[in-house]
């Protein structure tokens, strides 16, 4: 055993006066102990000569437990068995596999745990026989951090894959290479995105023509203001397939306000859009079906509505014939009758036009709808039923209501459905009390509220519970779809549909619609 505080004997470097030698040894020792890395000195056979304080901390051995023993005790298998072989090969061939190179290896502590470390080995200059000095840095924590980073990157990648989300970073100042995530490549179905065709140029080329204006506007805004880019648009890819993208991007700027980086995410929402489209189409078919069945139920009343102007026309025409035959006729009478004939013919045509509009299967639109006009148009359709049931229909609207952003036919369908329910609810009420009041007003919150009130028997609690369920009906021959569809139409317009008891008796059905908003980006 050697004293670890003494230089090893037989070392030619140490053939100096004893005092000097001791001083140098002490200085070397202090150096070893001050170092952060563990430092181990071994001789040519691999025996440990020096074991620094840091080494004690890292390995858990005291120096005296290690000095004089083979350094391979600090290594796990297979290094432990092979280490002597490494030394021999070096002595024979002089071929350095580690000296001056350094590498990442694994080491073993006293308690048997194995840890990653960086090992750098140097040969002590001019020492004969050769001695080696090893520097060992415990990199457990760094490895852990690396592992975490690697895992979170792969999780991010997986999340992007699952979410159909790609991202990118464009360094506008070219300080670093641009980054485009693998998923982004797959979303766009391109092998590489590079400076030859920059991302924004590529997207501009591919954006669907009807979305291009919105796309360009938002891009322009991104570049000229602080505003974030947040647009849903379609692209047609190189292979001709269409994808729906939700693209969010932001520019970061330097102190002078120059854009430095362009960071963004591109979300492929094609599947979601497809599902939404399917659901919407189904809803539209159902809505149309409900309108047709409403018209079927109203056929008798509608016949009456067309019969009225026809009757009037017949009588005016007959009056004309008699006036013409009369010897002392007055032309004014004839003219008036003729005028009325054309007015009534137009009226009959108008009834048919509204009917056709109402039942036509058509694309759902969103346009500014004048509520006063809507209620007036509705009168034709609703009054039919009112007459049949001897019900007065009163329209009580505020003048000059603002427009709402809606599909006019669907709104008519909602109001007509509510009015017809109100009329049906009053079958058992004396005729003089049968009145439906249809009112529209502007709420302070910027919504239009439409109320349909009746004086019927009101709603029994069992009915209120299921009122909006599809196929729930209290009427013989009803489809039970009216209120369910009405509510879904109102909701699709951003409004609400509910009911309250009317004063004294009957029910009030309310719905709200937001007043036409500023044009919205989709």
């Amino acid at each position: 055993m050697y004293d670890d505080r003494q230089p090893a004997p037989g070392n030619p470097d140490d053939e100096t006066p004893a005092s000097r030698s001791t001083r140098a040894g002490l200085e070397f020792r202090s150096l070893l102990d001050a170092a952060v890395d563990a430092i181990i000195v071994i001789d040519q056979r691999g025996c440990v000569e020096q074991f620094s304080l840091s080494a004690e901390r890292v390995f858990g051995y005291k120096a005296e437990e290690v000095v004089g023993r083979n350094v391979s005790m600090l290594m796990p298998e297979p290094y432990r068995s092979e280490h002597d072989g490494y030394l021999e090969r070096y002595h024979e061939t002089g071929e350095a596999r580690i000296i001056g190179i350094g590498r990442e290896v694994r080491a073993q502590r006293k308690d048997g745990t194995i840890f990653p470390c960086e090992l750098a080995v140097g040969q002590v200059a001019e020492a004969r026989p050769p001695r080696f000095i090893g520097f060992i840095r415990d990199i457990t924590l760094r490895k852990l951090a690396d592992e975490r980073l690697r895992r979170s990157e792969s999780e991010l990648r997986l999340a992007q894959e699952l979410a159909n989300l790609g991202n990118y970073v464009i360094h506008l100042d070219h300080s670093e290479p641009d980054y485009y995530s693998p998923k982004l490549h797959r979303i766009l179905d391109v092998a590489a995105i590079d400076d030859a065709v920059p991302l924004t140029t590529l997207l501009r080329l591919w954006v669907h023509p009807s979305d291009r204006e919105r796309f360009d506007e938002a891009l322009e805004e991104l570049q000229s203001t602080q505003a974030a880019f947040d647009v849903e648009y379609r692209i047609v890819r190189a292979d001709g397939t269409t994808r729906h993208l939700h693209h969010i991007a932001q520019l970061t700027r330097d102190a002078e306000g120059r854009p430095v980086r362009h960071v963004g995410t591109v979300h492929d929402i094609t599947d979601r859009r497809q599902t939404e489209d399917d659901a919407r189409q189904l809803q539209e078919r159902l809505t149309h079906f409900s309108r047709l069945s409403t018209m079927g139920e109203m056929a008798a009343g509608l016949a009456h509505e067309i019969n009225q102007p026809l009757s009037a026309i017949t009588m005016y025409a007959q009056a004309c014939q008699r006036f013409m035959r009369s010897p002392n006729r007055e032309d004014a009478d004839v003219l008036e009758a003729l005028e009325q004939i054309s007015v009534q013919a137009l009226r009959a045509g108008e009834v048919i036009r509204r009917l056709r509009n109402f039942v036509k299967n058509r694309e759902v639109k969103r346009e500014p709808v004048d509520c006063n006009r809507l209620l007036e148009d509705l009168r034709t359709l609703a009054e039919t039923d009112a007459r049949l049931h001897n019900v007065r229909l009163r329209i009580d609207d505020e003048p000059d209501l603002p427009t709402v952003h809606a599909d006019p036919i669907q709104l008519q369908q909602v109001v007509l459905n509510l009015v017809r329910n109100a009329i049906d609810a009053m079958d058992d009420v004396p005729e003089t009390q049968r009145e439906v009041v249809l009112s529209a007003r502007l709420l302070p919150e910027g919504e239009i509220e439409v109320v349909v009130a009746d004086h019927g028997s009101g709603l029994v609690p069992e009915a209120t519970e299921h009122l909006f369920n599809p196929f729930f009906t209290t009427k013989s021959g009803g489809t039970g779809l009216g209120l369910a569809i009405s509510r879904s139409i109102v909701r699709a317009h951003g409004g609400r549909l509910w009911h309250t008891p009317n004063e004294r008796t009957g029910a009030r059905f309310h719905f709200t619609l937001p007043v036409s908003p500023a044009p919205r980006r989709e």
């Binding site: 009225q308 009757s311 026309i313 007959q318 009056a319 004309c320 007459r387 019900v391 049968r434």
Partner: protein
Amino acid sequence: MIKEIRPTVFVVDDDAAVRDSLRMLLKSVGLPVEVFESGQEFLDAERDDRPGCLVLDIRMPGMSGLELQGKLNERHSILPIIFITGHGDVPMAVEAMQAGAVDFIQKPFRDQDLLDRINQALEKDAGSRRMLAERNMIRKRLESLTPREREVLDLVVAGKANKVIAGDLNLSQRTVEIHRARVMEKMEAHSLAHLVRMVLEVERAEE
């Protein structure tokens, strides 16, 4: 005496075009016509005792045609009613006929059909009014009789001979003959049979 008023066709229909075209049609045949847009408006105008007839839409919001008919019946109006019905209103038309309507006509109709019905209704109204006028006249004559004359009249109409009447009333036969002559004169009766017919006419109406 009652001043002769020309019979008028009253039209009640809530549909402005139908109402106005009816007005034109009736004007073209020279019939006086007045139009109303609701049953209430017609009731308020108090036309129900005028000579004429009523052309009434059976379906109206608020007061329906049938309700107006009921109200006129309550007022003992004799105005004949022609109902205008739409397609599929047969049950209501039946109800209207049972409540005393003279006729109904389904829209759309030929003008001559309506005018024929209106003429029939006006004739019926004129007949009813003549009868009412006659009854009123008889009543007035009856009211001009003294109590004793009325007693004698009732017994004469009952078919009793002068002698029996004298016995019943404890009068001389001569006195009965004088009363009877006064009755015939006041009642403007041409014969005993005429007198009996007049009294029965009034009594039947008052039953």
